[in-house]
Amino acid sequence: MVIYGVAILAGCFLVGTVAGELIGSVMGIDSNVGGVGIAMLLLIVVVDKLVKSGKITKPSLDGLSFWNQMYIPVVIAMAASQNVLGALTGGPLAIIAGIAVVLISWAIVPILAGKQKEDPTYTKTAIRGEADA
């Protein structure tokens, strides 16, 4: 059933968020530290186990696939609700510092990542997932 997939996603999201909040409070900050990242890793492991043991059906996977593909629409809604006016009217210091930090970070990406080949096969080994919405 579709809801099973969505429920697995929701469960991983909530477990990750609780873990992130706990890590935050252990560190003494009122912030979610890596909760989403933990949830992502959890989902990858859980789905991998379920698929390999054949315990999950196609409709259940469709529930995951739906939210996977809703990602870009959500990002567009997010873009439309950003404080763009605030970014542009924040004064020259904010604009220059913001631009400088992005340009410098871009320059460092290839140094940190090292030489990586473009590898078109990396998506094929994935369990399933149509990210191109």
């Binding site: 990002v75 809604a77 873009a79 439309a80 990542a113 473009e118």
Partner: protein, 253 residues
């Protein structure tokens, strides 16, 4: 009649947002195919359209939540809010390859630390250039250059003035918007076409919305790899900026 229609749209704001985003995406992909022959990805155009709409919304209402401050489009704020954003980001990992993530583990973690410290230093340098001399303001603006959440968290912890906090938020917003728009343009030049580089990218840039939007417009298959590191960044920034990084700043100034 018009009022009835408007009321229905407002009362069902969440549903309205699906229609608004759907129409925006249709228009974006139409422009992508007709004007750029698919060279500029449809989702990149859609994100830019979204940002333009957000600007219009900001001017129209002088609010802080872009187009979603207009009551007719309030549902966009929910669809694009942090809950559904994070939920959809988690869903992108459905389709990610765990082996790739493990392979990039150490580089991903080191890029997180380098990213937070680098952003802080660059922001702090510009704060000094613009005449700030006290460590609290310099650290708050440096933190804002990390993300627009790290800035106010740090500022509040250190007791910075509201003017400085506003600048730190704005610096983080500029970063986020620029990453969203610029990632597909620079991807070719910085080798951003594989999971390892995407993880380093997420760790260095850190702005979850910027990385998530930027990678979506570059190659949606890279999103989970960038997002998995970027989502640790703000937490790490909130941890380092008001503590270690502030103490170092305080020693210098």
């Amino acid at each position: 009649m018009l009022n009835t229609i408007k009321d229905v749209f407002i009362d069902n704001g969440f549903i309205t947002s699906f229609l608004v985003v759907g129409v925006t995406m249709w228009l974006a992909y139409f422009l992508s195919n007709k004007l750029t022959k698919g060279k500029i990805h449809g989702s990149a155009i859609a994100i830019i359209l979204g940002l333009i709409l957000a600007y219009i919304g900001g001017v129209a209402t002088s609010g802080t939540k872009g187009l979603s401050d207009i009551s007719l489009f309030a549902g966009l704020g929910f669809l694009g809010g942090s809950m559904l954003r994070d939920f959809a980001i988690v869903a992108t990992s459905f389709g990610a390859n765990f082996d790739e993530i493990k392979k990039a583990g150490i580089r991903g973690v080191s890029s997180l630390f380098i990213g937070v410290i680098l952003s802080f230093v660059v922001g702090a340098i510009f704060a000094v250039i613009f005449g700030y001399k006290d460590a609290v303001s310099i650290a708050t603006i440096g933190a804002g250059a990390a993300t627009y959440i790290v800035g106010p968290v740090t500022g509040a912890a250190l007791g910075a003035s509201s003017e400085v906090i506003a600048i730190s938020v704005a610096a983080g917003l500029v970063k986020s918007v620029l990453v969203m728009v610029g990632t597909p343009l620079v991807a070719r030049f910085i080798g951003l076409n594989n999971p390892m580089t995407a993880m380093v990218y997420g760790g260095l840039m850190g702005t979850t919305s910027g990385v998530a939007g930027g990678l979506a417009a570059t190659d949606p298959k890279l999103v989970p790899y960038g997002a998995v590191t970027a989502t640790f960044y703000t937490g790490l920034g909130c941890l380092l900026a008001p503590t270690v990084l502030f103490l170092i700043t305080d020693m210098i100034f």
